[in-house]
């Protein structure tokens, strides 16, 4: 049997990955452009990055975005993990079908719909729109992504460990913290990161649910993009890309190392 890649496979991979990465690479390159024009190269310069430090409105927006992201991702991880536990450990409860629907529907629901409906809820409740409402909205749509990530991990691990802890007299709470959580925590961490980046990224839902005084970075970027492409935005985008990519790569490497160590331990245990 033929193993490895044929020529067609290689072409598919090269075309696909160039398509995925070329626009981002070009964006990063032109953030170092000396010219104000984004499409004509005029030499290397970091002038746009230095200008960012003096753009107070942009820094404020970045600070709002960061706080919304940290709070909403943490609460979403808590709620999402609970929902994952509920769906994977309790096969029968009242409203299970409804809950499954409410977890999966937001994953594909167009953001315009989620944003508008949440805004109308906040208006009906007469909540002051701003930081709090954006955070609440972000918790609601990101928790479903956390649920999916954690649920797939809960499905794949050895249930007999939990049964054993229960048989030995551990309460469900103790079992969860001593047995389940240590086993699923990479998925919980991945869920948190996903929720955090989704929150950093969101323009539509934040635009609907915000009020005066709370402008997030994507909203700021969007309003400037509408006026035209500028190297300053390229610089902001490059910084964001750098932060997120570093986070993802580091997380992946840690996870990989953990798996390798775990495999080695298991081999040693089997040999011993």
């Amino acid at each position: 049997m033929r193993q490895g890649l044929s020529k067609i496979n290689v072409v598919g991979l090269v075309v696909g990955f160039s398509f995925l990465y070329l626009p981002i690479v070009l964006l990063v390159i032109f953030s170092f452009n000396a010219s104000r024009l984004v499409t004509v190269w005029a030499g290397f310069s970091t002038v746009w990055y230095r200008q960012l430090w003096h753009n107070q409105a942009l820094l404020d927006a970045a600070w709002v975005t960061l706080r919304v992201g940290l709070i909403s991702a943490s609460v979403a991880t808590l709620l999402g993990t609970m929902a994952a536990l509920a769906l994977s450990r309790y096969p029968r409860f009242f409203g299970r079908t409804l809950m499954t629907g409410m977890v999966y529907a937001p994953l594909v629901m167009p953001e315009v719909i989620t944003g508008l409906s949440l805004l109308l809820l906040f208006v009906a409740l007469d909540l002051n729109r701003g930081f709090v409402t954006i955070t609440l909205a972000h918790i609601s749509f990101t928790m479903c992504f956390v649920t999916v990530v954690v649920q797939s991990r809960l499905m794949s691990f050895d249930r007999s460990l939990e049964d054993a802890a229960m048989d030995l007299g551990a309460t469900p709470t103790v079992t969860f913290f001593q047995v389940t959580l240590p086993l699923i925590w990479p998925a919980v961490a991945a869920g948190w990161m996903l929720a955090f980046t989704l929150s950093l990224d969101d323009l539509v839902i934040a635009s609907f649910t915000t009020g005066p005084g709370a402008t997030t970075l994507p909203m700021k970027i969007y309003s400037q993009v509408r006026l035209g492409v500028t190297p300053e935005i390229n610089a902001v985008c490059t910084i964001l890309i750098a932060i997120v990519s570093t986070g993802v790569i580091v997380a992946t490497l840690i996870n990989k190392r953990r798996l390798i160590l775990q495999a080695r331990d298991e081999r040693l245990a089997a040999a011993g």
Partner: protein, 319 residues
């Protein structure tokens, strides 16, 4: 099974073992269960389902210049009852009467369907190539697919403006190569929307297809080859049918959100290509007509209910 598991964990888990077996009462168990199910359920109910009902309610009211800009608003139960009589389907009649909305729905569904097919055509070879690579490469390649998915959607769409502009990088390249002698107009056309959707949603299509290709039993392919099938025939009769669950999941993951997409048509499509997500946005932010925006949203939800339910079926079967 229970006994062997007990022995296995008995060596490491000494702390729970100190408690007697009779300790964990059903009450404690019920308490944990109630919180784990109840809290997220309540949250999703209050912040996902209830808002839809409010959207539906407001779609039946009429616009006024006030804050909130719709009538009737209801504070009390009595208010609800009297308001019930004022409900009207005027907004829906308005939507049905104006071809702008109908065209917008049709255009959105058409663009979403066409870009789903385009995404599939690009994603399949990529997913297939990754599944054929050696295990060491596979992890890195999967990560390369996921990485753009983590970086901002807005940024990735923005990156295309500089490429597709009349004086943009693509036109510069093509002019320099002498493929064309006049810049192509791509930005602010439906073509730019296609490119934007395919680009942004590509990982959503690659990952499910790759997952189903990777799970596939390789011996089936060997068997087909042993029995004399050409590689092409093996692909069409064995590989592709087995990867269909991934293809279907990927198509839903692209089609449903693309239908209501706002950022891509707004930044790349220009003002003439009015997809429904942008119509909602304009009704809401520019016209400040919340009831009509709500009615447009309700109709969009009704259109998308069927694909969403199908998507959930596919997901439930995969679990």
């Amino acid at each position: 099974m229970a006994r062997s598991a007990r022995e296995a964990s008995g060596e490491t888990q000494t702390r729970p073992a100190r408690k007697t077996i009779s300790q964990p009462g059903p009450d404690t168990r019920g308490w944990f269960r109630r919180i784990v199910i109840g809290v997220p359920f309540f949250w999703l109910f209050a912040l996902f389902l209830v808002p839809f009902l409010i959207v539906f309610k407001i779609s039946l009211s009429e616009v006024v210049t006030a804050m909130p800009p719709y009538q009737p608003t209801f504070g009390s139960i009595a208010g609800w009852w009297s308001a019930l009589k004022e409900f009207s389907f005027d907004n829906y009649r308005w939507i049905a009467g104006d071809p702008l909305y109908f065209n917008s729905y049709v255009l959105s569904l058409g663009i979403a369907a066409a870009s789903t097919v385009l995404t599939l055509l690009l994603a399949y070879p990529l997913a297939y190539g990754i599944s054929k690579a050696s295990p060491a490469w596979r992890t890195s390649l999967v990560m390369l697919v996921i990485l753009p998915f983590w970086t901002s959607f807005l940024i990735r769409v923005y990156a295309w403006i500089a490429i597709l502009k009349p004086e943009g990088l693509l036109n510069q390249l093509l002019l320099w190569l002498r493929v064309i002698d006049q810049p192509l107009v791509i930005l602010n056309t439906p073509t730019a929307i296609f490119i934007g959707i395919v680009y942004s949603y590509l990982p959503f299509m690659i990952l499910p297809i790759y997952a189903s290709l990777e799970r596939m039993d390789q011996s089936l392919i060997e068997a087909a080859a042993d029995l004399g099938a050409t590689p092409f025939k093996t692909f069409w009769t064995v590989t592709f049918p087995l990867s269909l669950p991934g293809v279907i999941a990927g198509c839903f993951l692209v089609f449903i959100p693309a239908t209501g997409e706002f950022v891509i048509p707004d930044l790349l499509g220009g003002s003439r290509t009015l997809m429904i997500g942008k119509t909602v946005w304009l009704e809401f932010f520019t016209n400040r007509d919340w009831p009509v925006a709500s009615a447009v949203t309700v109709v969009l939800v009704i259109i998308l209910v069927l694909p969403i339910v199908l998507f959930q079926r596919v997901q439930a079967r995969a679990q």
